[in-house]
Symmetry: C2
Subunit: 178 residues, 2 copies
């Protein structure tokens, strides 16, 4: 089934910039069987880690974080790009393959020592993943796992995440060699 | 429980512009009980309408559309702001309270006569909701319902939606008088 889910992801060349091969997950989330299988796989991996809340990263990350939270009977803490959240926030630098962005969460989104599972769509260079973990930790959260649907192996993001946050277990479901 | 969910929504004055009272749903989605109740309510309203896919509107809309889809065992068709989707899209004008934006979907996201439930976080003036329904119809979808978590009654968006799309059943769970 993961093989079938992988086949649903299509590569779009030169998006959003020349030279970038964009992995488009929209056909995967449109496919009920593949989508729900991916959600179930992440939820079942996360369950033993006993998260108390799921953190999701805007915008595609919400497509996976929110149903995983629902599956586990939890709420969602929201990580957004700078300027979108209306109240007091904590902010971290979040460089990605295309640009330097900033991630923000409301200061009260995570309580001290709360067990947090972070869910995102993609691990590329690992920079955004590291920034998201940084941010949750900055808010006092205990990151019990980071789950991503896709991993681009050739960018070696997993190594970077492990180096920056050796205490965090990381899952990726679908890997691309190129 | 809907009363409790309503209490979780906090109003932030003058965001994102002076004069706007922004309804912040982040405390609601962080609260496991309220969040999951809201998802269950939308899913149970939608079930009898026999949707075949759920359409979600970027970004906060994804927080509700995705778990409703999971709950119903369906996939999610994605409505994004202009320029975010990598393949051939269909586009509609989507003015809101703050600015004129454009909504896009991949041309192949909805199949002809597919039964589509649209889920969003908020009905304000109704303009974005109407644009989302326009877009799904333009792709050939049959909109079997539009569900929103919050409705700002004083902006009379529901009347505008009913006028533009009298064939579409609309649900809002939490209403604000002001």
């Amino acid at each position: 089934m993961i093989t079938r889910a992988k086949e649903k992801i299509c590569e779009v060349k030169d998006f959003p910039k020349p030279g970038i091969g964009f992995k488009d997950i929209t056909p995967l989330v449109e496919d009920a069987t593949c989508y729900n299988h991916v959600i179930d796989k992440i939820a079942s991996w996360a369950k033993d880690r006993e998260p108390q809340i799921v953190a999701g990263i805007e915008a595609r990350g919400f497509l996976f974080a929110a149903p995983v939270a629902h599956r586990l009977g939890l709420g969602v803490a929201i990580i957004r790009k700078k300027g979108k959240l209306p109240r007091e926030t904590v902010c971290v630098r979040a460089p990605n393959e295309y640009a330097v962005e900033y991630f923000e969460m409301h200061s009260d989104s995570i309580s001290h020592s709360q067990r947090v599972l972070i869910v995102d769509d993609l691990i590329a260079t690992g920079s955004s993943s590291i920034s998201a973990i940084d941010l949750v930790k900055k808010l006092g959260g205990d990151v019990v796992g980071f789950a991503s649907v896709v991993e681009l192996l050739f960018l070696k993001g997993m190594d970077c995440i492990k180096k920056a946050h050796p205490d965090v277990d990381v899952l990726s479901l679908i890997q691309f060699e190129e």
